[in-house]
């Protein structure tokens, strides 16, 4: 944790993994002021599987960006493992993303003309992990998503579902504390979507990976233990699935 310049405390035994305390994100001034997030309070514990829902413009993407340390709130505090992230500079935020966060996007966002294995190596290269270990970790992550046979395929040689699996493998190859998935099934047909959701569920159940998922679709959100609905920058409803355990 020394990457945080000592600012990061040890992971508390209790307490949420991430927490929003009265988080505001405001664009523009005066008349044209837009409150993308309007005083959000939110806590997500380690091991949870959370679905974030809401129409476009409701603030769900903005909150995902802040959760992912890609954006900073205008006001309020964002605590990551108990540390206030709002005061960190962009370099420190990059370190947080590098070591604790994994991203899965709707558009897969793999590097073109780069093999699956090489795509997985990129985050490990940034972590300065040496080649042999890097290769082994990348292969292991590909095995987890069931694509060990495709390591030398480039994205163009993979189906959409396979590309998204590679993207998930890339997100988990660093063993992140939090996986952020922004409409991961948005570009996939329903059979492929459910495969991806099963994969995320497995990762959540078996590895204890905390997953926050943005989606439009109810049947996709149904995989999560907890569902948060956004509207006009506010959380309007929170529901917990009955099958959710001790979240």
């Amino acid at each position: 944790m020394n990457v945080m310049n000592g600012g990061m405390q040890r992971e508390p035994a209790t307490g949420p993994l991430v927490a929003f305390e009265q988080v505001y994100k405001i664009y523009g001034h005066g008349e044209s002021e837009v409150r993308a997030l309007d005083g959000i309070d939110l806590q997500i514990n380690a091991g949870e599987f959370v679905a974030v829902m809401g129409p476009s413009g409701s603030g769900k993407s903005t909150s995902m960006n802040i959760l992912g340390c890609l954006d900073k709130p205008t006001a309020g505090r964002y605590l990551f493992k108990g540390t206030d992230v709002t005061s960190l500079n962009s370099e420190q935020l990059a370190m947080l993303r590098r070591h604790y966060l994994g991203f899965v996007f709707q558009g897969f966002n793999l590097l073109a003309r780069t093999t699956a294995l090489e795509n997985l190596e990129i985050p490990l290269i940034y972590q300065r992990i040496e080649k042999a270990k890097r290769r082994a970790m990348a292969r292991e992550a590909l095995r987890v998503v069931g694509l060990e046979a495709r390591e030398n395929h480039t994205p163009a040689e993979l189906s959409g579902g396979q590309q998204q699996r590679v993207a998930i493998a890339r997100a988990i190859v660093t063993n992140p504390s939090l996986l952020l998935a922004d409409e991961p099934t948005g570009n996939l047909d329903s059979a492929r979507s459910h495969e991806i959701m099963q994969l995320l569920t497995t990762l959540n159940r078996e590895r204890g990976l905390t997953v926050v998922l943005v989606t439009h679709e109810d049947d996709i959100a149904a995989y999560a233990q907890r569902r948060i609905d956004f509207r006009d920058g506010k959380i309007v409803r929170e529901t917990r699935a009955s099958r959710a355990g001790a979240a």
């Binding site: 890609l70 954006d71 990059a94 993303r97 966060l101 966002n109 793999l110 990129i122 940034y126």
Partner: protein
């Protein structure tokens, strides 16, 4: 951190070979041009040096006129008489040979062949002073020189082109209005640098030339060679002193003659070639600059084209500095690679052109190092702006970029 950046950069370059190739094209051309020009320039300089040493390295030339660079003054300054030659022969200490020399252009006819050639009047001492050697026949005898006999020695070009397949010795040459018998053929000296054939000449005994062709008993130049190279400066001082005395030039007056040694000539020639090489190199450097701007262009376009890639890298945990470094390293690698290819092409080109223009191929390692360093620097300088732009991208917007 640098090793990792290097991996990323190399992968990105390999990922898009065509783009990379086009990026480096400008650098390749620029570096190749610089190498060719500098190499040929060095070759030319060396050739001038060796040609001048062929002319006789410890030679002094006494010629009319004051300062060489005064131009017009030389025309009015008095030529030298035979009395001057005799005085120098009598008074100079440490002189190996003295050869009066005068020349003009004249029509030379042998049989049906007719050419305009240089006609020289001199004495056989010229063979000592200027390293002239006869390959066939002989030099003038003292009696031929004194009597002003109509004999001559011809240059290799005349031998080859006007007397093809004939026995030269004993043949008759008409030079202007006189006919003379060929008694010797000079060794070929080769093309001179700035046009003109050094071997297209007919040499007459000085007296013959003065009486039958020149119409005066003056001589335009006097060549002298010292016993040793070291004594040349001393010899030069003696010549100046003797000539000033003979011409009664007052202490505060400028000499109306000029004594030049070959090192001076060589210096003038080499500095001229140096200036030309610098000038041409500057033009070539402009093309290198254009190549650098080409790199900047393509890197800038590439930043836009690769916006999403940059977004992905930032999301995955790259810092802005790492992205910037990656783009910088890519630019530097590309231009350094372009520099290497350019150096290879340039050396190849120079090796090909040098024999075609009769210049030796001179390999200068320092130039290569400089060209390589410069091309890599071009990459860093021109890669900086695109790299900074890439590093400043907002990851959210970059990820959204289509």
């Amino acid at each position: 951190m640098f090793a990792n950046t290097l991996i990323m950069a190399v992968r990105e370059i390999r990922r898009n070979v065509l783009r990379s190739g086009l990026t480096v094209l400008g650098i390749i051309i620029g570096v190749a041009a610089v190498i060719i020009i500098v190499t040929l320039g060095a070759g030319t300089t060396q050739q001038v040096g060796s040609e001048i040493s062929k002319m006789g390295s410890n030679m002094l030339t006494l010629m009319p006129g004051g300062d060489m660079r005064m131009g017009g003054a030389a025309m009015q300054a008095p030529l030298f008489g035979m009395g001057d030659v005799e005085a120098l022969q009598r008074e100079l200490v440490g002189v190996a040979a003295i050869a009066p020399y005068t020349q003009r252009s004249a029509q030379v006819v042998i049989g049906n062949e007719n050419r305009r050639a240089t006609v020289v009047g001199t004495t056989s001492d010229i063979s000592v002073v200027r390293n002239w050697k006869v390959t066939e026949g002989r030099l003038f005898t003292l009696s031929e020189e004194r009597a002003g006999k109509t004999v001559c020695i011809i240059g290799a070009t005349i031998r080859k082109e006007m007397l093809e397949g004939q026995e030269p010795l004993g043949a008759t040459v008409r030079v202007g209005k006189i006919s003379c018998e060929i008694i010797g053929v000079l060794e070929a000296k080769g093309q001179v640098m700035f046009g003109g054939d050094q071997d297209l000449l007919v040499v007459l005994p000085l007296r013959t030339y003065q009486r039958r062709l020149g119409g005066s008993d003056k001589t335009a130049q006097i060549f002298m060679s010292g016993d040793t190279q070291d004594s040349l400066a001393d010899l030069k001082a003696q010549v100046i002193q003797i000539m000033r005395q003979r011409r009664r030039i007052a202490e505060d007056e400028r000499s109306d003659f000029n004594v030049m040694d070959m090192t001076e000539v060589s210096n003038v020639m080499q500095s001229t070639i140096g200036v030309m090489t610098t000038f041409l190199s500057a033009i070539a450097a402009v093309s290198l600059l254009v190549g650098g701007i080409g790199i900047m262009n393509i890197m800038l376009v590439s930043v836009t084209e690769r916006t999403r890639e940059i977004g992905i890298r930032l999301a995955i945990g790259a810092t802005g500095r790492e992205v910037m470094l990656q783009f910088l390293v890519e630019a530097a690698l590309l231009s350094a690679f372009g520099g290497l290819v350019g150096i290879t092409l340039g050396l190849g080109g120079a090796a090909g052109i040098a024999p075609a223009i009769n210049v030796p191929f001179v390999f200068k390692p320092l130039t290569l190092v400089q060209a390589f360093a410069f091309s890599a620097a071009v990459g860093v300088v021109f890669g900086f702006m695109p790299a900074r732009r890439a590093a400043r991208l907002n990851p959210i917007e970059a990820l959204r970029h289509e």
